[in-house]
Symmetry: C2
Subunit: 424 residues, 2 copies
């Protein structure tokens, strides 16, 4: 969208660029920038080589906002601030107030470790050295977050550990220079439409027919775990066009719409159960606990979720869930009959109103004639009757398990919302 201030995120860390650890800061900052109405134009991950970091900063500093993460530590390998000074043509100078602040923290660390403060002094001086004109945003440990304004553009350096970065980030956002940049972004509205069921290409085709992007309207379609997530970002002047696109989508897919906000699917399920005063239980074979883990990731899940059984071995299905042995013998552990018996068993033993069960073959082993890898049976047992699905899921073990868990959550959502107006 033309006119939005552009932001570039520069992430440094050799273990990140080598794929040994996954970068969490780039996606976090990109989402934050997007939320503030800026355009996250690029995320660059570089290693510890000074020339690579310098080149990435040089490039990033051309944007309205450049955010560098990592490389703020006390040792000579931590070069972000030094290179930020060099690339902006400024010299480094010790900030005396900042030095006192870092010294206080370091003295406490020295005391705790029973080391002389002298061991820390050089590091403190290094971490208190900022490019002339830059300001500290506050400390994370001994590392300051740093903001530098130059001709309406700003550069920000934040620590690499995600928890520290997230603590200092609001201080950067609150800084007047940052607020000025955000103020240059024309405010945008955001509509979320989440569909379960249609293919990504069907939604893309409907969007193509509904009208075009640009001139203050941006539409993105993203398929994830069997859900099609549509974001409409629009300026006030494009409201009517955005509404037209939304209407066209709903005309075709209204029955598939299941959410107009960004809550995780499991949170939608917990909220539906909570507001209906319904308790939940789970019985999992191939997902091995993923479903319970997803539900309990929601803070306050205990309002509705009682618990579950991971019934991996057949003896657990019979012993803990009361699945009759002959049902397993006749139909096999991966069958609609066993899924139904697991769900009914979970309802009974947990005294839950609604229970979801999933049994399947995640692979790579375990397939048999007529029962390929990816075959999954899901069953939701509820007072008004159950719902069952037989799924043939593509992908490897991890993908089959993740999709089986997501589809079970969708089936739970559907059963829980049946009493309401929704029929996705």
């Amino acid at each position: 969208m033309p006119g939005r201030p552009r932001a570039i995120v520069v992430v440094s860390g050799s273990e990140l660029v080598r794929g040994q650890r996954r970068d969490l800061n780039g996606p976090y900052l990109a989402g934050e920038l997007q939320r503030l109405g800026l355009e996250p134009a690029k995320v660059v991950i570089v290693g510890d080589r000074p020339e690579d970091l310098a080149a990435a900063l040089h490039d990033g500093l051309a944007a309205d906002v450049c955010i560098a993460t990592g490389g703020l530590g006390p040792t000579h390998d931590d070069r972000t601030i030094e290179l930020l000074a060099r690339e902006t043509g400024r010299r480094l100078a010790v900030d005396p107030a900042l030095e006192l602040e870092i010294e206080a923290v370091s003295r406490r660390i020295a005391d705790r470790l029973r080391l002389p403060y002298a061991d820390f002094a050089a590091g403190v001086r290094k971490q208190a050295s900022l490019p002339v004109g830059a300001v500290s945003l506050g400390l994370a440990g001994t590392a300051p977050g740093v903001l530098l304004e130059r001709e309406g553009r700003i550069a920000i350096a934040l620590p690499g550990p995600p928890a520290e970065l997230r603590r200092l980030w609001p201080l950067a956002v609150a800084h007047p220079a940052f607020r000025d940049v955000v103020g240059r972004a024309r405010p945008r509205h955001h509509r979320v439409l989440r569909f379960f069921g249609p293919s990504e290409s069907a939604v893309a085709r409907a969007l193509d027919e509904a009208g075009s992007e640009g001139n203050g309207l941006e539409v993105t379609v993203c398929a994830r775990e069997l859900e099609i997530h549509v974001d409409l970002f629009f300026e006030e002047g494009a409201r009517a066009r955005a509404a037209g696109i939304e209407a066209a989508l709903l005309e075709e897919f209204a029955a598939r719409l299941f959410s107009e906000d960004e809550r995780p699917l499991a949170a939608i399920v917990i909220d539906l159960a909570r507001s209906a005063g319904v308790t939940l239980a789970t019985a999992e074979s191939c997902t091995g606990g993923l479903l319970g883990a997803a539900l309990t990731e929601v803070a306050g899940a205990s309002d509705a979720y009682l618990g579950g059984v991971v019934a991996y071995a057949n003896e657990v299905k019979t012993g803990q869930l009361g699945v009759p042995e002959d049902v397993i013998r006749r139909h096999g552990a991966v069958s609609g009959e066993v899924a139904a018996a697991m769900a009914e068993g979970a309802r009974r033993v947990f005294r839950a109103d609604v229970a979801a069960a999933v049994t399947g073959i995640a692979g790579p082993g375990g397939a048999s004639p007529g029962k390929p890898v990816g075959l999954v049976h899901v069953h939701v047992a509820a007072p008004g009757g159950g719902e069952a699905r037989r799924l043939d899921l593509p992908g490897d073990r991890e993908a089959v398990r993740a999709r089986a868990s997501a589809l079970t959550l969708h089936l739970l959502r559907r059963v829980l919302s049946r009493s309401g107006a929704e029929a996705a």
Copy 2:
């Protein structure tokens, strides 16, 4: 390490640069490049703007290997191939054999959707157009992976969906031009040392004292979920120095060494149980299924893992695991006593040899005087007696749950390896 061929990964996708979906291809390719002995120098994520993608490709093409992911689809928004041609100064030309191949796939899709093939013809022609001199590596759907060699440097374009990328990647690696680049890398050895317990700074200090990097030796330390993971990469000529560093680390931390390979922690636990002929069960409160999910992520977990109970509500702890009500009343649900009773209960009801239990306060709610968020009790019950831990874990709900699960796996590992030579 000087002399290693450098690789740059260019990831395109607007939902990736905005943080709406996490990029999986960059970390995957970086790890693969590292494994092949190349240096992953940079991972760049850009959105759909042609000028941003062009600039990133321009930069990437200066490296020995440039890998672009995404933007290979049939529509005009998919510009990777077009920009690759432009940035290498080549024109696009239809590859007739490739066009026939894509046409065959598209005709099948058209038949299935009952659409005329004519709807697809333009897209087929677009996807069969390659920069002059480039070759197809094979199709993912209708999109070809593409390799272009120029003066000893290679550029590769792969589809964005991770599963498709991973399917075509080995075909790129096997291409003679890629093998030539890999052959220019001096072969490196790789040693992995994984420690449980010491702080990252203690390991870093020991490494500093043990000798220096460079000249064919590269050492990285990475802390993740309570584990310190040390990688030693070294050329043949640096073998003695690498061995010296390893010896120095082991002198200080041998008792903390728990693995010399990259198996996931849960796979180590399953392997230990399998080789000891021991069966496992779990009883989870605050982790809500994460522990079971981690164990069952291991292919073949059913050799050792029987199942578990997610005992979220207190009635499940008493009803399913036989935790005495008065133990909960006297000590609270988050207590060492309840953790022990949960573990013993799981051993009993699952008839398992060893059972692990975890109960804690993941937050943000649920804290009470003396029981803060992050308090977690873990207990492993085993024939030779149990092991228990009281943990005070930092972080938010997600972090507390992940760490509690990881620590429980470490305690399981410790109990299972007690009979062996290991004492980490």
